[in-house]
């Protein structure tokens, strides 16, 4: 009658035979989390809505002013909007675990935190792909509309190099937000730092480069955004690729590495 615990029959919960959570399921959960919260749903909704609005405005102006109505220019109109809002999506994918206090549940169900982080990153990349696909499809529709209004045949100028540059730029900007959020684990702080990095820093770097010759030769190596804008003019020279790699290391890889290290040890509150 030895039902008393601790007397030889250990009351352990043996999960050694239970398989781990498949990565695909983690990915699906993270993808769902990013769109079924109020903030996430509104953000994706606003991105799509404002991009559509930008297209309509550009169409009206382009028809009236007889501007460039190429496919590339229509995609650029919605890219202008999404390049502001995608990084915020990247930020919220990570930092909402802390601000909404879901991290406890998430990391209790999957204690290997890095798998969660990779699933989140993949979810962010998927949403980026969705926004890009949306931009491409909507751009297509608007090029056709433009040609109908103008009576010309549609101008498909966009090219694979422009496309590759577009995809890489948008993905990098989403990942940039992701890295900063991992570093700070706080939504407002990450947004502020990201905006400073995106809109203020390039101006300062350009000013520094204009004033100082030594800084002018240094700038391409540390200005990730300038390096990214080169991507639209493929093919790049070897030096341009190296600028991209080095500046990307500074602004993307290093913050991300520190952020991942931080997530792996952060107290879950």
């Amino acid at each position: 009658m030895s039902t008393v615990p601790g007397s030889g029959s250990p009351f352990t919960l043996d999960v050694s035979g239970t398989p781990g959570i498949p990565f695909l399921r983690l990915f699906q959960v993270e993808l769902r989390k990013s769109v079924d919260t109020r903030a996430g749903r509104w953000l994706v909704g606003v991105t799509v809505g404002v991009a559509l609005l930008a297209e309509v405005i550009y169409l009206i102006v382009a028809v009236n002013k007889d501007l460039d109505g190429s496919y590339g220019s229509f995609v650029a109109a919605s890219a202008f909007v999404s390049s502001f809002l995608l990084p915020i999506l990247g930020i919220m994918v990570v930092s909402s675990e802390w601000s909404q206090r879901t991290a406890m549940t998430t990391f209790a169900l999957e204690p290997r935190r890095m798998r969660i982080v990779w699933a989140k990153m993949l979810a962010g990349v998927s949403l980026t792909a969705f926004v890009l696909a949306f931009a491409l499809v909507v751009g297509l529709a608007f090029v056709l509309l433009f040609s109908v209004f103008q009576g010309n045949s549609p101008d498909w100028t966009f090219g694979w190099s422009g496309f590759a540059g577009f995809v890489m730029n948008q993905t990098f900007s989403m990942l940039g937000g992701f890295a900063l959020a991992a570093l700070l684990l706080n939504t407002p702080a990450a947004i502020v730092v990201y905006v400073a990095y995106k809109y203020v820093l390039p101006g300062l770097l350009a000013l520094g480069a204009a004033l100082m010759a030594w800084f002018n030769s240094l700038q391409p190596w540390i200005d990730f955004q300038a390096a990214q804008s080169e991507l639209y003019d493929m093919p790049l020279t070897a030096a341009q690729w190296w600028h991209l790699v080095v500046s990307g290391l500074i602004w993307l890889v290093v913050p991300l590495a520190i952020g991942l290290w931080r997530i792996s040890r952060a107290e879950v509150k």
Binding site: I57, L67, I88, T187, P188, V192, L204, G208
Partner: protein, 266 residues
């Protein structure tokens, strides 16, 4: 023995209301003694100083000829972004940190709390400007001492007033957006869209369409403020800025205050 029939009311009719000065002091303290607010203030001070030092090094190294307003302008690159964030947080943190319940229980007249918050932001703006004006003056004098050039002040007093307006506008618009959405990230994103995205769109439209070009100054509050930054504002531009201010400041603030008065306190 009819104690049960004695009315169990708490009679506060004779208790004086919370004095407004105390509300302002409390709101000022709330801005600085939370983690977010304190770090924001520390970041503003540290980054502003850093910008000033770099600017000094560059102008001396390159033999440039800065004026007083150039130093004010340099410092505005950091304060112009970070002070408004404080403006957003001052209202949204009541909801995100769930302190609204306590705040509005102790002072049920919500508009008084809102006005106290606005006065708190005004105080912070004045302090930030005073610190910036003194630091800028110091930098200008130091520049003169290091370079041996004559120090150029321009209309220093006028510029200080312009920058005060700039800080106040930034704070107030940010506060209005915060009040409109009552959510920190959304308020910050909205403010930055107003500061960085909308002026670009409006400028492109103005470059393309001449009728819009003459309309733009009347509705683009942020671009109008550039003439405060470089000190060239004059005449009709003041009127245009006031009209644009109604669009971006008065209307959102009015809707925001209406919303705060009725918002559910969670």
């Amino acid at each position: 023995m009819s104690t049960a029939t004695a009315p169990m009311t708490l009679d506060v009719a004779g208790t004086p209301t919370v004095p407004f000065g105390r509300l302002v002091r409390v709101e000022l303290r709330k801005l600085a003694d939370t983690r977010a607010g304190r770090w924001l203030l520390i970041s503003i001070a540290a980054l502003t100083l850093l910008v000033l030092i770099i600017q000094m090094a560059v102008v001396l190294g390159q033999g440039l000829h800065p004026k007083y307003i150039d130093f004010l302008q340099g410092m505005n690159t950091t304060t112009g972004i970070l002070l408004p964030v404080l403006g957003v947080l001052s209202i949204t943190s009541e909801w995100s940190q769930r302190t609204a319940m306590v705040t509005f229980t102790l002072e049920p007249s919500r508009v008084r709390v809102v006005v106290a918050k606005l006065v708190g932001l005004l105080v912070i703006s004045v302090v930030a400007l005073a610190a910036g004006a003194i630091l800028g003056a110091l930098a200008n004098v130091l520049y003169g001492a290091f370079s041996g050039n004559t120090v150029v002040w321009g209309s220093a007093g006028k510029f200080v007033v312009y920058y005060l307006l700039l800080y106040l506008f930034g704070m107030a618009v940010a506060f209005a957006f915060g009040a409109l959405v009552l959510n920190s990230p959304a308020g910050i994103v909205l403010y930055f869209a107003y500061q960085f995205i909308i002026p670009t769109i409006l400028s492109i439209a103005a470059a393309l369409m001449s009728w819009f070009n003459s309309l733009q100054p009347w509705i683009d509050f942020n671009t109008d403020q550039n003439s405060l930054i470089d000190g060239t504002i004059h005449g009709l531009l003041w009127v245009k800025m006031a009209v644009a201010g109604v669009v971006w400041l008065v209307v959102p603030l009015a809707i925001g205050i209406w919303r705060i008065r009725r918002a559910e306190v969670k």
